[in-house]
Amino acid sequence: MEIDELKKLVQSIRIKIIEMLAAAGSGHPGGSLSMVDILTVLYFEKMNVRPDLPKWKDRDRFVLSKGHAAPGLYSVLAERGYFSKEELVNLRKIDAMLQGHPDMKRIPGIDMSTGSLGQGLSVANGMALAAKLDKKSYRVYAIVGDGELQEGQIWEAAMSSAHYHLDNLTLIVDNNGLQIDGTNAEVMNVDPIGDKFKAFGWHVLEIDGHDFVQIRAAIELAKNLTCKPTAIIAKTVKGKGVSFMENQVGWHGSAPNQKQKEEAIAELEGSVTQ
């Protein structure tokens, strides 16, 4: 895909995120917008998946460990054709397919139910170990938040991924620097993230998580790195693309109202035509 085309695609996905959150009246825009450039590259260019056959055995797997960013994932999956885009406005409604956090029992294309932070990397390890055991070539991708790194289980899992030489696993850290109560630095410092993963026996790549060239290159490079798992530390902007949400702690977990929705969409539409 040409970069311009990719940019248009991501902007339309961002608009969907805003629309679905406004329709739901609750949810998490900040972390959805920060990771969506990476997620779009994964689902449209890098992951070997078949939206017509979501449970295809040889597909690459994806675990959204930071499950609250579900609107970002749902918008990408809908755009990729896993389910109808009309479903997006039913987010968080009673009995809706699109639950507040990813639910693999209801939603085509969701490989693991997540939401409780810290648990996704362990699951991704299990998937990667199963691939090795079965001599399958599929890869496993997981996205964790930077605040999520405060969960102890992440480091249990990080130890495991390296111990079992899971070079078929790529972990992306959505490093937007913010969490509910403030900046990571104020709440509980997680830096230096790259050094921590290196010390745990990982390959570490540090990129700008909104630069498509860097995202593509890092994901491609990780496929070719052997013996160890790879962590891509992606520097991102929470709320990316909507200026009044960018880098604002308050937009972690609140939905835009009608006026804010219109303002956000106008800005996003403008940025596509620029």
Binding site: D103, V123, A128, A157, Y164
Partner: protein
Amino acid sequence: MSIATRDVYGKVLVELSENSRIVVLDADLAKATKTIEFKKACPERFFDMGISEQDMMGTAAGFATCGKIPFASTFAIFAAGRAFEQIRNSIAYPNLNVKIAATHAGLTVGEDGGSHQAIEDISLMRSIPNMTVINPSDGKETEEVIKAAVQYYGPVYIRLGRAATPDLHGAGYQFNWGKGEVLREGKDVSIIATGIMVAKALEAASKLQEEGIVATVINMHTIKPIDKLLILETARLTGKIVTVEEHSVIGGLGSAVCEVLSQEYPTKVAMVGVKDRFGTSGKPDDLLKQYGLTTNDIIAAVKSIK
């Protein structure tokens, strides 16, 4: 003859190792949980996750999403206790096919003391939707439960003990998933027991018979889903129930039985179990005595129901 249910676990895993979907995970307790036997037989499908029970449960979940049948093994206190939320959210919520073999359950862990004696695990596990909870009574039953768990799709919590228990079942025993086993029939009182306490319930029934009290004894190996029909049938027959478990009386077998009876057929129940206390170090038999889990305690409970 007697054998600890955890010893059987290791042996059965080896027997089942021909099934290539089975993978076994442990958290640095392979010698104690006996998964070491599987490791010897089938090292490529054995994964030691180190002392990290939460990560182990998540890894088991990941295996299950790829069609494996993972057995995740550790002590009951660390499985049901420490990794409760991983079991809830990463295994049971998505209804993944993970078998949790929790050994060293209850007071009979013995000398390790209260920190290691899981007396809340049945309560915790049976409160989770999608979860099946089974507490086998002897070696043969453990063997059958493990085999049946492989055939069944969904998360299963299997509670195993460290201490040797007398053999109650012969070679031909057929385990019926979710159906309590009537070991003795009597019309005066129903003793519903689980796990290692089933043998003691049978002893108590023999002694009671000498006094002219004829008891029904039920081995309630499957605590969830509980055998509602059998509980109601026996309550209608005898009108008096005694529940017996090596577990807290809060939330375990006794509670499960009372939930059925209070809603459908109110019946007097006496509970033999740990009365809202932590355990302590000691020899298994001394602990059972101190915590009111002996044959005589069962007899006293039977007589307490007027």
